[in-house]
């Protein structure tokens, strides 16, 4: 049986492995190779040269990287605070209403990110859904909150909410009610239960949710383009510009490699800490 399992497991992994080898790992290798080519070439037949990486430091690209990481960090912290009560409700309080919230949140995921962000522009712009009605009602308008750093973070929070909410709810569901009850019986306050019982026991969910939303937000670009009006340039935007307007593939590749190293490192760290079989509900 075991020999058969081994053979079938290997065979059935082949379609996906081959797909990822050809269209994920191979392109990554091409990016890595291009990143050590001289500036503005379009073929790999050149002597290696690390000039693109020095451009990262000399031309101030590290600033947009810091902005992207900072905004991702801010949105992750806000998401953690914002989602905790809701995730708690979904895991422990709501019952049937949890299903309603789950379906509503999942359905919103299927609407293209563009359309949802564009909807916020229509909602928040001067003469938009809120300001326009407010002015028609009271007679004086107010400035639109669009086109700033704050609104970009808001956009990140809005778009990546599901990626924090679901892992967090899964994590909180793993906190046994008996343990909380016992802590209360022994005279613990609400804060003590939160800090010493709930947060440590829900840690896997917190880690997965935070990593997912941080990694996705760090690589995001539509929020700063559509809502932020490029008040701040996102790092992913710099990468895109290097490829398209700049026509400088080696520079774009070097910037990509820097991003891949940061995000990939975090993702690998997170994935190695988590037992996938346990989270996805192995029953055996």
């Amino acid at each position: 049986m075991n020999a058969l399992d081994r053979k079938l497991g290997f065979l059935s992994s082949l379609p996906l492995t081959i797909l990822l080898l050809i269209s994920f790992l191979a392109p990554m290798a091409v990016v890595a190779l291009f990143s050590v080519m001289p500036a503005k070439v379009f073929s790999l037949a050149n002597a290696p040269d690390f000039s693109s990486y020095s451009v990262f430091l000399s031309q101030g690209y590290y600033k947009s990287l810091l902005w992207s990481l900072g905004m991702a960090l801010a949105s992750t912290c806000i998401l953690l605070l914002l989602c905790w009560p809701l995730a708690y409700g979904m895991a422990k309080v709501f019952g049937r209403f949890t299903l309603v919230i789950t379906i509503a949140v999942v359905m919103s995921l299927f609407v293209s990110e563009n359309i949802r962000l564009f909807g916020w522009v229509l909602t928040l712009m001067k003469g938009g859904l809120i300001e326009g009605h407010w002015r028609a009602f009271t007679g004086n308008g107010f400035d639109s909150p669009l086109y700033g750093v704050g609104i970009i973070v808001f956009g990140l929070v809005y778009v990546y909410l599901p990626f924090m909410l679901f892992p967090l709810a899964q994590g909180i569901a793993m906190v046994p009610d008996d343990t909380r009850q016992a802590a209360y019986d022994l005279g613990a306050t609400r804060w003590q239960v939160l800090w010493q019982i709930e947060i440590p026991l829900a840690a896997p969910g917190i880690v997965v949710g935070s990593l997912l939303s941080f990694v996705l937000a760090a690589g995001a670009l539509a929020e700063s383009k559509i809502l932020g009006g490029q008040a701040v340039i996102a790092f992913a935007d710099d990468i895109e510009t290097a490829f398209t307007f700049g026509q400088n593939w080696p520079l774009g590749s070097a910037l990509s490699i820097i991003m891949i190293a940061i995000i990939g490192g975090l993702a690998l760290f997170g994935v190695s800490k988590v037992d996938l079989d346990a989270i996805m509900g192995r029953k055996r």
Binding site: P27, P85, F110, I115, W120, L122, E240, A267
Partner: protein, 274 residues
Amino acid sequence: MPTSLSTRVVLYFYGVVIIFLLYLPLVSVGFASISKARYLSFPIKRYSTKWYGEAVQSSTVSELLTTSLWVAILVTIVSIVIGFFGALAFARYQWRYRTLFQKLILLPIFFPQTVLGLALLMWFNSVGVIPSWKTAVVAHLVWIAPIATLIVSIRAYSFDPALEEAARDMGAGTWTILREVTLPLLMPGLISAGLFAFLLSWGNFPLSLFTTGADSTLPEWLYAKMVSGYSPLVPTLGVMSVVGSFLLILLALTFSWLIRVNRESRTTQKQKIL
């Protein structure tokens, strides 16, 4: 400790507010799509459905829809096949590199999609493939096939391998077992994986942006119009795309509900006979 009534009320209210905010932008898009004026401003003075008429007649729109639809259909079919086998390798069989395989397929999901799209563009260029909507299918698959695999895996974790072993003991070959035992057991997972694959491909923008070449999908066109030169067709097409997705989800939910009701009524009938 049971949660107090006031806490419950606050939590329910909070949940409703979050869902409201989640859908508020779509309400704005909906209103914008039926505004008569070419340059939108709220409150809307005159309503009209003329932009829908124009969208239906426009040949650009039908081209965009055809491209998006073909990409989504191909991605769905391939994702279901790959997801079926991938899930067996992920969850069912105990083989040597299983944990490595599990980690490999998580990487593309975490990956920034814009960068992935650009990497694929360079890759296609260096092997001499000219990008078109067919290369976009490949790009979508890199991200969607792993997600489909995860969805089918959840189902694959919950089925009992003894069923397959029993079939094998009675002399069934590997293909017969896959067809007669495994496939029917995983069917609900395959259907939801297919649904996810279709919808995610239909709405995807960052992967299509660099990999469609001269062709264009609906989300790409919407984005182009959003960042440069507003067109009153943007909210209209946005609403059409969203309504299409939601109808599909509704159809799938009703269908699965009907199957469940049908199955339950059959079992109760059997119990009555017994």
